[in-house]
């Protein structure tokens, strides 16, 4: 169970994205602003944006290309998202403390065993069940490297880490249809070009039965669009302090509808 101190920044924590990282201690000419930062100039950024976009379509199993595409094209959307976070009290707290969703072994504060022991129907238990069902771990997420501003890099990292939690909140699995629904939701919430293109192009590749469930009256597309525009920003929700909350209450608080059951 995570304690009230949700910060995962120990000294020497290589996962930290913080502005205590002193660039003047780096060798000459090294302009990195946080660990794992890879500065790009305009030409490289454009080249990587286009190239990774093509690679995402041609080789969708390459998650490093999806990450690169999101990071190289997301500057404007991240800025807007960061301003939305600053306008919200809990979002400000998250920006100040910069909690990371990683397991204790991976340097974070998530204790999966404790989450599994939580009562049925709680947020933490639902998250642990989701991870176990698909064999995921929060440590699998790549660290942001192509965003220059450390705060925007943290926002991008936070967005990436709550993607699985968005799955849990929307009650969607990781099949293609579930991913498209979550991507529409995230597209509305964050405005990231990666989410918009991913949702749109992904929906073109659905199988016929999935497409029917997707497009029908009261189907998944309607649900995704409605929820995306009505719900509060999930990036502003301090998940690490609320594992014990019942999932239904969390959904109510964030104004997320219960997902349709069209099986």
């Amino acid at each position: 169970m995570t304690s009230s101190n949700a910060s995962s920044q120990e000294p020497g924590d290589t996962l930290a994205i913080d502005d205590d990282f002193d660039p003047d201690l780096l060798p000459l000419g090294d302009i990195r602003r946080y660990p794992n930062h890879r500065p790009l100039d305009c030409g490289q950024r454009a080249f990587l944006a286009v190239g990774s976009g093509v690679a995402c379509l041609a080789a969708p199993w390459r998650d490093d290309m999806i990450s690169a595409f999101g990071e190289t094209t997301g500057e404007w959307a991240l800025r807007r998202l960061r301003d939305d976070m600053l306008a919200n009290e809990e979002g400000r707290r998250i920006l100040a403390e910069r909690p990371r969703i990683r397991t204790v072994e991976g340097g974070g504060s998530i204790d999966l065993e404790a989450l599994r022991r939580l009562p049925e129907g709680s947020l933490g238990r639902a998250y642990a069940d989701f991870l176990d069902r698909y064999g995921y771990s929060p440590d699998h997420r790549r660290t942001v490297c192509f965003v220059d501003d450390p705060e925007l890099a943290y926002v991008m990292q936070r967005y990436r880490e709550i993607h699985d939690l968005n799955h849990v909140l929307l009650g969607q699995g990781t099949d293609f249809l579930g991913e498209v629904v979550v991507k529409w939701f995230e597209a509305f919430q964050t405005g990231l070009p990666m989410c918009v293109t991913g949702a749109f192009l992904g929906s073109l590749r659905l199988r016929p039965k999935q497409t029917r469930r997707y497009l029908q009256e009261g189907g998944y597309l309607a649900y995704a669009l409605r929820t995306g525009s009505d719900a509060d920003l999930t990036i502003n929700y301090y998940f690490e302090r609320n594992w014990h909350q019942p999932l239904a209450e969390v959904r109510q608080q964030l104004r997320i509808e219960e997902p349709p059951n069209l099986k």
Partner: protein, 327 residues
């Protein structure tokens, strides 16, 4: 308008001592530290212990082996094929020679050498004998094919190549290519795992020693050259194809910008590996100047040392002969 990051970098350029410099102030910074001594052990621009460097280099090549050839084509826009063909022509292996190709993992040079030596006169192909059959066209064709295959399988013309490479995964790619070309090619090539500083070959066993784009990855250049001198027979030839210092100033600027800005992102897109390709371009910059390398070859005992710069001026072929020692 200059963004904050570049401002900080510009200030650093101005305030530090002139002994160190970083090029391209308004682009991505590169740590270019000029060492007066020339070459010392460095992993790209990162300083590492000599023992560690070999491991790091092995890791790089194990990671990029699958996309190595594709990346070569993309990075050089296909020019590397012209360079290698010119290298094989200048090495000129004769039929019956024993060649050692060092750091030749994916087999480009080995296959090129075999093809070249087979085209040279030295062995006439046997005539196709008409076998008894039912007289139909198909049986004649089958018989002809069987005979040519048998004749080629006996003892193919050309040289034999021993490829020595520290990376097994690179050699796997190479042997797959050799098998795809034909069983005779595959049988003329021997794949040995080993380092250039200590070749698993006997003294004076080779007529020709080739190394293409591998010298810059070696930890101990004088040691590699001494070892090359050891395994060559008297009057044996040493040939090294490697990237060199670019003399033309305009080309040098374009080449630097292209190497440092375009190649690592391309490596990320195609091979999924930015760091390995950054290492590869940095290791090129740390290689000694072509005249300095020629002197190193003379010190190792080679005679008639010469180098030839290939178009457009980014790589050159060093060659030398081992004369029999005067007793």
């Amino acid at each position: 308008f200059i963004p904050k990051m570049q401002c900080r970098q510009l200030l650093r350029c101005i305030s530090r001592s002139p002994a160190t410099s970083s090029s391209s102030c308004f682009g991505v910074a590169r740590r270019q530290i000029h060492q007066p001594g020339g070459f010392d052990t460095s992993f790209g621009f990162e300083e590492v212990e000599p023992g560690q460097k070999q491991d790091r280099v092995n890791q790089v090549f194990n990671r990029v082996s699958n996309s190595y050839d594709v990346m070569n084509d993309l990075m050089s826009a296909g020019l590397h094929r012209c360079w290698k063909r010119r290298f094989v022509a200048s090495a000129n292996p004769r039929p019956g020679w024993r060649v050692v190709d060092v750091a030749g993992g994916t087999g480009d040079i080995a296959l090129g050498l075999l093809e070249w030596s087979r085209k040279l006169p030295g062995r006439a192909p046997p005539p196709v004998r008409v076998a008894p059959g039912d007289g139909s066209v198909d049986s004649f064709r089958e018989a002809a094919e069987r005979q040519t295959a048998a004749a080629e399988a006996e003892a193919p013309a050309g040289c034999t190549v021993s490829v020595v490479d520290p990376s097994p995964s690179m050699m796997q790619v190479g042997s797959a290519k050799a098998s795809a070309k034909g069983s005779t090619f595959a049988s003329s090539i021997q794949w040995l795992e080993g380092r250039a500083e200590s070749l698993p070959l006997d003294e004076a066993s080779s007529d020709l020693y080739t190394i293409a784009f591998g010298m810059r990855n070696c930890t101990d250049l004088p040691g590699v050259l001494r070892e090359a001198h050891r395994v060559l027979k008297p009057y044996g030839r040493f040939a090294c194809l490697e990237f060199c210092s670019v003399e033309n100033p305009l080309l040098s600027i374009l080449y630097d910008e292209y190497s440092f800005r375009v190649i690592p992102p391309m490596g990320l897109l195609v091979a999924g590996d930015w760091d390995s390709y950054e290492y590869l371009v940095e290791s090129i910059r740390r290689f000694p100047h072509q005249t300095l390398f020629a002197n190193m070859m003379r010190e190792a005992g080679f005679s008639a040392v010469n180098y030839e710069v290939l178009w457009p001026g980014v790589c050159c072929i060093h060659s030398g002969y081992k004369l029999p020692s005067v007793k």
